[in-house]
């Protein structure tokens, strides 16, 4: 979807496909991941909104829809290995600071805030910040179920 460069201070980012999926046991609370992304282009916004049932391409003006920025898989791209199949979003808390403009490059920084085992699922909580230049665009707390 976007060209990116991936950085992590915890786990090697070499050849994620060859390393298998990122397991619950491998995830270290406090681990940090970072990804630099090219800007999101107008046609991507149009396709995103259409997929969500909306044909108004200019609904957010010249800004990237904040949920598009928050929810699409930049975190997946930032992690050193693929996450396992079957994981689901459980909760998201997104604070919108400043809109990211369409075409503006940005950086995603994530750190593992918490891991916990519930009655039916294992959960991983990430704190994620999306920035452009020196500006915070979004802060996200994401809770995902983890299946491996």
């Amino acid at each position: 979807m976007v060209e990116d460069s991936r950085r992590s201070n915890q786990v090697s980012s070499d050849r994620p496909e060859a390393l298998g999926v990122l397991t619950f046991d491998e995830i270290v609370v406090g681990s940090e991941f970072e990804l630099d992304a090219q800007g999101i282009q107008p046609d991507q916004v149009t396709r995103y909104l259409r997929a969500c049932g909306h044909d108004e391409a200019d609904l957010y003006g010249d800004a990237v829809p904040p949920l598009m920025l928050a929810m699409v898989c930049y975190l997946k791209g930032a992690l050193p290995k693929p996450w396992p199949a079957g994981g689901l979003h459980a909760r998201e808390r997104i604070v919108i600071h400043e809109a990211l403009k369409v075409g503006q490059p940005f950086t995603v920084r994530a750190h593992v805030k918490e891991k916990r085992t519930g009655r039916r699922h294992r959960f991983v909580v990430f704190d994620i910040e999306v920035r452009y230049q020196d500006v915070t665009s979004l802060q996200i707390e994401r809770t995902m179920t983890w299946t491996a």
Binding site: M1, Q44, R47, Y48, L49, R50, A51, C52, G53, H54, E56, L59, Y60, G61, A63, P65, P66, L67, M68, A70, M71, V72, C73, K76, G77, A85, G86, G87, L88, H89, A90, R91, E92, R93, I94, V95, I96, H97, E98, A99
Partner: protein, 125 residues
């Protein structure tokens, strides 16, 4: 809690919409795209929760219930239960004080709750 409108637009998310969302978002796991896997584990292909969350937020923008400048807004989303492709999703918009709560239902089962409220950012509301 005051109901501004009993419903936002109903939505039926098709397989084509899920495939399009997977393509643009990169969320292309087997829960959304591999029919055999999804049927075995969930009873059918899952709609992306993010797709529903955007549908609700964009519908709320379209109807003018919130302004287009979303700076200083918190969006909290709880994904309660999965939605399968082609299920009819009903939606509801309610207001409590300055918070809007958007809810998606399937057959009276809550699928997703999305709450939108202003927050203070570095001293400004």
């Amino acid at each position: 809690m005051d109901s501004l409108e009993p419903t936002l637009p109903q939505i039926v998310v098709t397989k084509d919409m899920v495939q399009a969302f997977a393509s643009v978002s990169g969320s292309d796991g087997p829960t959304h795209l591999d029919e055999e896997y999804a049927i075995e584990h969930f009873g059918g292909l899952l709609v992306h929760g993010a797709l529903l969350a955007e549908h609700l937020l964009a519908s709320t923008l379209s109807t003018g219930h919130i302004g287009h400048d979303l700076s200083g807004i918190e969006v909290a989303i709880t994904f309660r239960s999965p939605v399968i492709v082609n299920q009819v999703v009903d939606t509801q918009l309610e207001q409590t004080g300055d918070a809007l709560t958007l809810t998606a239902f399937v057959d009276n089962r809550t699928a997703l709750i999305e709450t939108i409220r202003p927050v203070t950012l570095g001293g400004r509301a």
